[in-house]
Symmetry: C2
Subunit: 135 residues, 2 copies
Amino acid sequence: MPNSEKSLYSIAELAREFAISTRTIRFYEAKGLIAPNRVGGTRVFSRRDRARLMLILRGKRLGFSLREISDYLGLYDADPAQKSQVELLHNLVSQRLDKLEQQQRDLTTTIRELREIRQQAEDQLADARKPARSA
Amino acid sequence: MPNSEKSLYSIAELAREFAISTRTIRFYEAKGLIAPNRVGGTRVFSRRDRARLMLILRGKRLGFSLREISDYLGLYDADPAQKSQVELLHNLVSQRLDKLEQQQRDLTTTIRELREIRQQAEDQLADARKPARSA
DNA sequence: TAAATGGTTGACGTATACGTCAATGTGTGG
DNA sequence: CCACACATTGACGTATACGTCAACCATTTA
């Protein structure tokens, strides 16, 4: 059962699927974020390449630079034999988690504030329809 | 009791407090994100200016562009008399909330994955010290 | 009075993240 | 055979977000 899902993609297919340009995908490759196989000169993307691309785009939605995303992808790749490598990985992951947790706090605060503003706007619209009830 | 807290700041004070450059603060002013008073030519920042700067920096930590942050600050400023303005504000706030909530989902997933990776690293470090217990 | 301190406005430089050609190659259908 | 779709690299252009001078003005302290 060799997995019924499609497992190879052209650059144009991926670009369409994720609503980005082919130029963008080539740029990510030039920056070392993905490394698709080649058939002749033509890039051929595997499911793993596609998964990496999804990680990249999620990183972008979170506001990270390509450099940061590159480091981040390294965290997924690592399969270290050396203890020192495991420790290094652990440190890197922990640092990244600290940043993400700070971001989550910022995000929670911001969402709370905007919900408050939205609520006030809704109250005002309700008052406009039924202006009584002051005291 | 005119509020014991400091209420006026120089550009250098704010730069130091938030670990950014004075150039950055001037740049934000040039982009219309803050509008400090002037005494002669010199900028004098109020507590409100400082609060806005904090909002800007939080927006940056969340990965937003200055343009997006500018729009976002407008949401805080609005105090609309017109019903249509209230509706517009409500729409803008709702749109922004959609983006932030998507970001929060991305963030939650990413944090979960990194915690998993960190856990695996910790397990490996534990195994290295006490390698038995395979089945 | 001279120098240090802190402020100002240009103007130019730079890294990032692509967009936009141009020139070229490759395979497939009519 | 030839057009057309789809791919390639290379080069140049562009918006954003500042950094980095230069040249200048105003206080204040030695």
